[in-house]
Amino acid sequence: MSRMQTATAEQERILASPWGGGRSPFGTDWGKLMMWLFIISDALTFAALIATYGIMRYISPRWPIHEYPIFDMKLIGFMTFALISSSAVMAMAVGAAREHNPKLAVRFLLLTILGGVIFLGSQAYEWAHFIGEGARLWGNPWGVPQFSASFFVMTGFHGFHVFSGVVYLTVVALRAALGRYTDQGVEIAGLYWHFIDIVWVFIFAFFYLL
């Protein structure tokens, strides 16, 4: 066998292997895999933020939410309800897209966007109230500067993700309404939206309830 033939055979062997690029080792298409990789990296960023918050909580001798009724838990509960509901409706949008029913998919997408907008509006109200009480990134009237810093950084970073998600879903919904969509595209957008919901689960538990 000549050198050229050996090289060709070796190349074919690699391409035929699960890691050769000739197949899909994760059993999914490129776009979805990239979204999953983005979600993992973003999850680690949020994990770092939550870990930092946890350490600050751990070394702080006192924490204001144990002493003052700072947050309106009814509002926070409503925000959680809006986000969880939008996540469920997003899953239905993916189901409708996979059944090749664009009209229904668009309706579900619009409901998802509505959930996101309600969440963002509630968060804007919460921020305005919090700032009105004197809370700033570098300090607050309750005497624990880390408290308001954690609040603004964590909920702000998450809120920015929600805002990005609303923009992203609006583009997907518009494309779906124009008939220029793929069910994979809707599913990829859905993965991002569900990830936002997952992050909120932790922020809700660790920041507002603990």
Binding site: G27, T28, I59, I84, E187
Partner: protein
Amino acid sequence: MDSGHSHGYKVYFSCWLGLLGLTVVAMGVGQLDMPTGAKAFLLVGLSIVKVLLIATYFMHLRFEKKSLVFITTIPLMLAVLMWFMIVPDTLDTGRRTLTLRDAAVQPAKVPPGAAPRH
């Protein structure tokens, strides 16, 4: 997700109800007067169940290949492991900060006869 899997909306609806129920339970736990450690344990447990519901049904992870499930879950497990490795370093953070601050305001101890380095 394999293209052959078609979900009834019933599954999503049940999952949504489950998530709402768990949220109400978590809010109840948040109101309980109990040690912070026990409360954290309960809330972490409830959060993990919620995340599993979302990832399994809404994100369809149960229909993905195991390789994809592994690359999504292993980094997060390692992140949790990293948290437990970092925490011991924070136990005496306050004391160490004070020590460093004290050292900063104290004059350096120079041995007799030793010239300062320029």
